[in-house]
């Protein structure tokens, strides 16, 4: 865990957990895109890293060659304790970990919960939540925009949708981080997954007796082709909503605030032209895309001149695709009102983020409320900003001052 030898050859031996890469991967991608657009490494099993928009989107669409049966960027290394998920989650956490046909219908169970209409109904509580958090630190003139703000928002919104108590928020956050961020530590990963599974199993039992009007209850009473949905699937889908909806959105909120803290011109522009917010949110998602997914190669295939073998991993590098000069003009610049922006921060093809409407709303509301109450702020000098990387990239400590 964590003990890495420094990378000398990024094209043939990259390391996505290299601390320099985690903090600032952008120049690395630009370099690779020029000279080796699909890099390779054997550090965590044979793994490919595309950096071009064209390649990443083509692979995301080619579900026959690139399967979602294993989507973790950091593989589960089988030594020591066994993965608790294996016994109770025979299908993993669909739809994200499934291929069609299982993918197709499990995804349809979720989509209506995150339609743009449904998401509008979550906006008022999200705004109230954001404003309450700001109240808590406004007088101090300083805050950690990641820990005290960004991290607190999505988990509470998701808890509400799932129908689980918001007081559990910190525990949920810990489990999700164990699963996604500390994934190279098998013990943490198991701890997080066990926590999630045990908790949701108990909640499922409770809902058999007292169903509510929440996502978990509805999943439990849903059917597919006349047959009740298996409990292991309900468990998987519920766990996914939590895992996929927390780190990701909090990272996007954090990165956006980090950008605005360090770019007063953009901050002032958003204050002067609040109508830009919807486009600005897309641009910030493009420039600081938090999520990388993986695929598993189903059979030997030559892709872009690379001899991929069955069982190899491919990292769906949506963040690097979004910085490709072949797809975006001046990709290294944040242009708040960028007019042509086909970014793939939420993926591409059939696995397009099912929560994208919710994520966008949370990001927009979080920025609007912050700017309304704290129009002038900057990074706290001499204090460190830290970043998480791997599957999800975003700031984890983000001290800012505003007085």
């Amino acid at each position: 865990m964590g003990e890495t030898t420094p990378v000398e050859d990024w094209a043939g031996d990259f390391d996505v957990l290299d601390p320099g890469y985690v903090a600032d991967p952008f120049a690395r991608w630009d370099d690779l895109r020029e000279r080796c657009p699909i890099a390779h490494s054997n550090r965590r099993g044979s793994t490919w890293l595309p950096t071009r928009y064209e390649d990443v989107t083509a692979m995301a669409h080619d579900v026959d060659h690139f399967s979602s049966l294993d989507i973790s960027v950091i593989p589960f290394e089988g030594e020591g304790p066994e993965d608790p998920a294996e016994a109770v989650l025979p299908y993993g956490v669909p739809p994200i970990s499934a291929d069609p046909p299982l993918h197709t219908w499990t995804r349809r169970l979720l989509l209506p919960w995150f339609s743009h209409r449904r998401v509008e109904s979550y906006e008022a509580v999200t705004r109230e939540l954001c404003s309450g958090l700001i109240e808590g630190f406004l007088e101090q003139g300083r805050a950690d925009a990641a820990v005290d703000y960004a991290q607190q928002i999505p988990v509470r919104v998701i808890a509400r949708i799932l129908g689980v108590p918001a007081e559990m928020a910190d525990t949920f956050t810990e489990w999700v981080r164990d699963v996604l961020e500390f994934a190279d530590d098998p013990e943490k990963r198991i701890e997080g997954m066990t926590g999630l599974i045990t908790y949701f199993l108990a909640e499922i039992e409770r809902r058999k007796v007292e169903p509510g009007e929440d996502l978990l209850s509805e999943l439990l009473h849903s059917e597919f082709e006349g047959v009740p949905v298996e409990e292991s699937l309900v468990l998987g889908v519920a766990a996914l909503v939590l895992i996929a909806g927390v780190d990701t959105t909090w990272s996007a909120i954090g990165s956006s605030l980090w950008h605005l803290a360090g770019h007063p011109g953009d901050r002032e522009r958003l204050l002067a032209e609040p109508e830009l917010m919807a486009l600005a949110v897309e641009e910030l998602l493009r420039a600081y895309s938090p999520v990388t997914m993986a695929r598993i190669v189903t059979g030997d295939v030559d892709f872009g001149g690379c001899p991929m073998k069955a069982g190899d991993k491919v990292l769906m590098n949506f963040p690097a695709a979004n910085r490709d000069p072949a797809a975006f003009e001046r990709p290294e610049e944040v242009i708040l009102d960028r007019a042509v922006n086909r970014h793939v921060a939420f993926g591409s093809g059939i696995h397009r983020c099912a929560g994208s409407n919710l994520a966008r709303m949370e990001l927009r509301v979080a920025l609007e409320e912050w700017l309304r109450r704290i129009p002038v702020f900057s990074l706290a000098e001499a204090e460190e900003v830290t970043w998480a990387g791997g599957q999800v990239r975003g700031p984890r400590l983000l001290p800012v001052v505003f007085r």
Partner: protein
């Protein structure tokens, strides 16, 4: 000007609806379609072009225009 959404390509990113709600409808499963017969009312052409240029799946096209 007239627009159309290719249902085979659309994956429900909902960028079209966000940019031009008067031109598109997105259903509960994320599938978008052009409202009415896709005719863009006067004054909405700019937003229609924006929607075309921001769809990550290249699913929206101007009817009668190659590309």
């Amino acid at each position: 000007m007239k627009v159309r959404v290719d249902p085979e390509r659309c994956q429900g990113h909902a960028r079209c609806y966000a940019l031009a709600p008067e031109l598109f409808e997105v259903d509960d499963y994320g599938l978008s379609s052009a409202l009415g017969d896709g005719t863009v009312p006067a004054g909405s052409e700019e937003r229609a072009r924006l929607a075309i240029a921001n769809c990550p799946e290249f699913a929206i096209s101007e009817v009668g225009v190659e590309g």
